[in-house]
Amino acid sequence: MMTIPVLVFASYADAFGARTVQVPVSAPCTVADLVSAMRVLPGGDRLPTKPLVALNQAYAKMSASVQAGDEVALIPPVAGG
């Protein structure tokens, strides 16, 4: 087991009531595993079916593997401009 801190923003931060969510996962872990683990945390039921995830500040595939030390963020639908 390891704990991955995941940055959340905007509506996702409201859902989890925090800016960073500590997510317990077993290693090795993919982005999909991480999202699944977040769904069962309080507020995680408010995530959409396929939330966007950024790994080290770049959009990542669901199959990408997550290592301890990676910067992980959940990206709500963007609305800049």
Partner: protein, 156 residues
């Protein structure tokens, strides 16, 4: 005796200037930075806070970003614009924090020797920004409610 030297009109664009700021955006500064003797056309875009969105009276908008990634994505977009429109000079500044109706949320300036690449680059940068850059906005309404905007339902 020295002869004045002129940079060729086809010289590569300057390094793109990208910023996330909390103070009001000054368009003149962006125009200044993309200006150059080789430039014949400057296209700019300003996004401003509208008083109405989707039929609701808006009183203000909070902008929030995943700042380091937003900066990277804006930088990547500027790089892609420079690849697609060689020689284009790109500036993008996005404001964060709370904005009132009429205030500028984003400013883009694209300069080029010719008008088509300047205008096309400007358009490309705002379109890409809207779909890729991790920035969010929470609209506040006249009735006291507020909500994070999901552009899939509320395109501007």
């Amino acid at each position: 005796m020295t002869t004045p030297t002129f940079a060729p009109a086809t010289e590569p664009g300057c390094e793109p200037f990208i910023a996330l700021v909390t103070a009001p955006i000054d368009l003149a500064q962006l125009v200044q930075r993309v200006s150059h003797a080789s430039v014949g056309a400057i296209a700019t875009f300003l996004g401003t806070v509208r008083e109405f969105n989707d039929g609701r009276a808006v009183t203000g908008i909070d902008y929030e970003a995943y700042e380091p990634m937003a900066h990277r994505e804006m930088d990547a977009i500027a790089g892609e614009a420079a690849e697609r429109f060689p020689g284009v000079r790109v500036n993008v500044v996005h404001r964060l924090g709370t904005l009132a109706v009429g205030e500028v949320s984003v400013a883009i300036a694209c300069a080029h020797a010719r008008r088509a690449p300047a205008a096309d680059a400007m358009r490309m940068v705002i379109e890409e920004l809207k779909v890729r850059v991790p920035i969010w906005k929470r609209e506040h309404y006249a009735d006291g409610e507020f909500t994070w905007v999901d552009p899939s339902g509320n395109p501007r």
